[in-house]
Amino acid sequence: MNERLQHVSQDRLINETNIREILIEMVTKWEFILILLFLGVIIFFSNASPYFLDYFNMMNTTFNFMEKAIMALPMIFAIMCGDIDISIASTLALSSFGMGLASSMGAGTPEIVIIGLSIGIVAGVFNGLLVTGLKIPAIAVTLGSQSLFRGISQAFLEDKAFTKYPESFGYFGQGYVGDSLIPFELVLFLVLAVIMGFLLHKTAYGRKVYAIGNSSTAARFSGVSVNRIRFTNLVLNGLFAGIAAVLLTSRIGSTRPNIAVGWDMEAITLVVLGGVSIIGGKGNIFGVIIAVFLLGYLKFGMGLLNFSAKSMIITTGFLLIAAVLIPEMLNTVKAKRKLRKQQG
C-alpha cells in the first residue's frame, strides 16, 4: 500500500492478514471445490474398481471426452462476453460432412483437415456476422444455425454415410504420441488449453474479454472494439468445432448427419461447471480444465461399475448444482464471519 491510499483512515478498514481468513478465502474458491470433488472421485473409484487406477485405462478413457473438452475452450470466451454458441455440435457435423465429401473425392489427409477446419471457421464467421453485424443475441442466432448447419449435411448426405477415410487420417482420433500410451487427442487438448489459457489470462485480448463481460458499454467507451472481440470469439468456437470434427471423424472413421448430436450442451456444461459465469465477466481456464477431467473420470468410474447411463446424467446434474451451491454457501458464511469480526 502506498501513501495516498492511507487516505481511507485505518480504523475504517479491516485488514485481512489473519491466516484463518486466508484459508477460508481459499476454501471458498470454486476451483478448490472442484479439485476436492476430483480427488474424491479418484479415491472412491480406485477403491471401487481394480481397473480404474490403471495407467492405460486412465489415458485411454480420455478419448471419450477430449473433443467436447476442446470445444469447451473457446466457449469460455463466448460465455464470458455474455454470448453463447449452441450450434457447435452442428458445426462439427457440417465440417465432418465436408471432410467426408473431400475424402470421397480422393482428397488426402492434409486437404481433409484443412477443409474441416475451414468449414468450422466459415460457420463461426456466419454466426459472428449475424450476432455482431445485426446485433441479434447469440443464443437466438445459434438456435437457428443449429438446425441449419446439421440440416445442410443431412440434406446432402441423406441416409448415406461417408466411411472411406485415408489410413493416415485415423491418427488424429485414434493415435498415440510416439509409442507411448498417451493419446494424441489428450496432448492436443492440453496444448490448446495452455494456449487459450494464456490468451485469456495473460494477453490484452483476454483482459478485454473480461471487460466486455462485466460491462460491454463501459468497455466500448474505453476504446475496446467490443464487436470485433465477440466476433472473434464466435469464429474461434467455429474453428475449435472444426478441430473437434477432425478428431471425432478420425476416431469413428465415418460421417453421418447425426454425428455428435447434443454435444453443444455437454461442452457448455463443462464450461459452466468450470465456474465460468453465464452472466459474463467471471471465470478462468483452470476451473474448466478440472471440470473436464472431473466429469470425464466420474463417467469412466461409473461405467466401470456398470452404473446405468441414466444414473450418470443424474449425477452430472447434481454435480453441476453442487459445484455452484457449495462455494456460494461458504461465501455467505465467510461474509457473516467477517461482519461479526468487525463488530468485535
Binding site: 502506498n2 460491462s215 476504446g223
Partner: protein, 500 residues
C-alpha cells in the same frame, strides 16, 4: 412547532472490508430541509439506504414518533412515510412513465386487479403539478436524461410521505428543472413534511436548506443552521482543512487550432454543429441537460456514427469510425455516466485505469504487469483515489471516487485532446477543486480541453470560450469576456440566435 420525525441513534453499517458508517446520530425534524453534507465516500448514500430499508444497519436503532422501528424492506419504510430519490439511476427504461412511478405500490381496484386508469390519471396530474410535458404512456427509454430524473422525483412524490430524502437529485438537472425542484421542496415544507437534501453544490444548499449535518469517513462530524454558517465553515468540517480557491484558472496561452468540427449532424440528437478547439484552450460546452452535448462528444470520439459533417485534426480531415481511431488521434473522452459508461464496476481499480491503453501496455498482445502497476499508481495517486488498495473492485468505491478512477484512466493515456463530460457531477468540493486545478494545469501545458458542464459557475470559472447548445443545435459561442450567466441561460434556452 417543528417536531422530530425520525431519529438515528448510534447507527453503524459495515460492508465486508469497510465501515461505511460508524457511531452515527442523526435527527430530522418536520417542516425543515436538512442538508446532509460530506465528501465522496463519507457515507451519505449508505445512510439514505438505511433510512429507507434498502440496507439494514449493522448496529444502532431508528426511532420515529412512536418508538423504535425496523425497516426490513423499502415497503416498511414507505409504510412509515419515508421515501427517497436514490443517487443511482433507478428507472425501468422498458416501462412507461406511469408504471415507473407506481412500481412497488401499484393502485388496485377493489377486485384486487391493477387500476391502470387511476394510475394513469394520477400520473398526468402529478406531472402536471410539476409542470412537466410528458405523456404518461411514454417509455422511459425515449425520455431525455433530465426528464428521467424529473420522473424519479415524481415517483417519490407519488407516495404521500412524511420524510422525503433526495440523494443528489440535481446532478442531472438543468437550472429550469432545479427551480422546479425548489418549488416542490418548498411546497413539501409548507405541508409540514421533512426533507433530507444531499448535494455537493453549495449554492443549492444555501438556496434551499435550513439545517445541515456533516459526515466524514462514515462518522458524524457536526451540524448547524445554514443561515448561521459560511461555505468555509462547512468545508472545514467536511475536509478538515479550508480550501484554496474553487476555480484555480491558470492564464491560458492559447496555441494553434488543433480540432475543427464542421456541420456535424446525428439524426435525432444534433444538427449542423460546428466549432473549433485550440491547443491549451479550455472550450466549455453549456446547455440544458438533453441539449445533445454528450452526443456531439460521443460522435467526435467515434461512439456514435455521424450522418454528415467533417472533422479536421490539425487541418487534415480525419475519419473517426471508432473510439480506437479517436484514441489513435490523441482524443480522450470522459463520459458523463460513470456507472454505465465510465468505470467497469466489477473490475479492479488497476484494470480499470489501464484498460484504454491496454494494448500499449502489453508487448505482442501480452500483458506486462510492471508497466500496468506504474501507470496505475502514478495516475491513481494523482487523482487521490480513496480505496483499500488497487485490487478492490470499482463498485466498492463511492460515487465520487469512481469518477476519479474514470478521470485517472483517461489522463493515463496522455491525450492531446481531452473531452470531459460533466467531470465533476456528484463530486465533493475538495475533489472538484482538485479536478479543476488539474484541468487548468493540463491546459496550460498545451492540452486542448473540452469541458461539457451544466454547472454555470464551473463554465464561467474554467472556460476560455463556451459553446452553448440548445435542442441539438449550437445557439451561440461566447468568449470568456462576454460570457455571463444571463446571456448564457438565454442562449441555452434558445432565446438568442447564435453568431458563429
Amino acid at each position: 412547532m417543528s417536531k422530530t420525525i425520525l431519529q438515528l441513534k448510534d447507527i453503524a453499517k459495515y460492508f465486508p472490508g469497510i465501515k461505511a458508517l460508524d457511531k452515527v446520530d442523526f435527527t430530522i425534524r418536520t417542516g425543515e430541509v436538512h442538508a446532509l453534507i460530506g465528501e465522496n465516500g463519507a457515507g451519505k448514500s449508505t445512510l439514505v439506504k438505511i433510512m429507507t430499508g434498502v440496507y439494514q444497519p449493522t448496529k444502532g436503532k431508528i426511532l420515529m414518533e412512536n418508538g423504535e422501528v425496523q425497516f426490513k424492506t423499502s415497503h416498511d419504510a414507505q409504510a412509515a412515510g419515508v421515501v427517497a430519490i436514490h443517487q443511482e439511476a433507478s428507472m425501468f427504461s422498458e416501462l412507461t412513465v406511469t408504471e415507473n412511478i407506481f412500481m412497488g405500490h401499484h393502485m388496485r381496484k377493489k377486485s384486487g386487479i391493477l387500476d391502470w386508469k387511476a394510475m394513469r390519471e394520477h400520473t398526468s396530474e402529478l406531472l402536471g403539478r410539476m409542470e412537466l410535458d410528458i405523456n404518461p404512456d411514454t417509455l422511459i427509454k425515449n425520455l431525455g436524461t433530465a426528464q428521467r430524473h424529473m420522473v424519479e422525483i415524481a415517483k417519490a412524490l407519488s407516495v404521500d410521505a412524511q420524510l422525503v430524502i433526495m440523494d443528489e437529485p440535481t446532478s442531472a438537472l438543468s437550472l429550469k428543472e432545479v427551480d422546479e425542484l425548489y418549488k416542490i421542496i418548498r411546497q413539501l415544507k409548507e405541508q409540514g413534511k421533512a426533507i433530507v437534501f444531499i448535494s455537493h453544490k453549495f449554492d443549492e444548499i444555501f438556496a434551499i436548506c435550513d439545517y445541515f449535518t456533516v459526515f466524514r469517513d462514515g462518522q458524524y462530524i457536526g451540524e448547524g443552521k445554514v443561515k448561521e454558517s459560511t461555505v468555509d465553515d462547512i468545508v472545514k468540517m467536511m475536509v478538515g482543512r479550508s480550501l484554496n480557491q474553487m476555480f484555480p484558472k491558470k492564464e491560458a496561452n492559447i496555441g494553434e487550432k488543433i480540432l475543427e468540427i464542421k456541420n456535424l449532424s446525428l439524426p435525432g440528437y444534433f444538427k449542423d454543429v460546428s466549432f473549433t478547439l485550440h491547443k491549451g484552450e479550455i472550450l466549455g460546452f453549456f446547455g440544458l441537460v438533453g441539449a445533445g452535448r454528450s452526443e456531439v462528444m460521443r460522435t467526435v470520439f467515434g461512439i456514435d456514427k455521424k450522418s454528415e459533417g467533417t472533422i479536421l485534426l490539425n487541418g487534415k480531415e480525419i475519419h473517426i469510425s471508432s473510439p480506437r481511431v479517436a484514441m489513435s488521434h490523441g482524443i480522450a473522452y470522459v463520459p458523463e455516466d460513470r456507472q454505465q459508461q465510465g468505470a467497469i464496476l466489477e473490475m479492479s481499480l488497476s484494470h480499470n485505469i489501464t484498460l484504454p491503453q491496454i494494448d500499449r501496455l502489453s508487448k505482442f498482445g501480452i500483458l506486462r504487469k510492471d508497466s500496468e502497476k506504474t501507470v496505475t499508481e502514478e495516475f491513481g495517486n494523482k487523482m487521490e483515489i480513496k480505496a483499500a488498495n488497487w485490487k478492490v473492485n470499482a463498485n466498492t468505491l463511492s460515487g465520487g471516487n469512481q469518477q476519479k478512477v474514470v478521470l485517472a484512466k483517461w489522463l493515463a493515456t496522455n491525450p492531446e485532446i481531452l473531452i470531459l463530460d460533466e467531470p465533476t457531477k456528484g463530486i465533493d468540493v475538495a475533489t472538484k477543486a482538485a479536478v479543476h486545478e488539474f484541468v487548468s494545469e493540463m491546459a496550460s501545458s498545451g492540452l486542448a480541453v473540452i469541458l461539457v458542464s451544466s454547472e454555470m459557475p464551473e463554465i464561467l470559472g474554467m472556460a476560455d470560450r463556451t459553446v452553448v447548445m440548445h435542442e441539438g443545435r449550437v445557439s451561440r459561442v461566447f468568449s470568456r469576456e462576454e460570457a455571463n450567466s444571463d446571456n448564457m441561460i438565454l442562449a441555452a434556452t434558445g432565446h438568442e440566435e447564435g453568431t458563429l
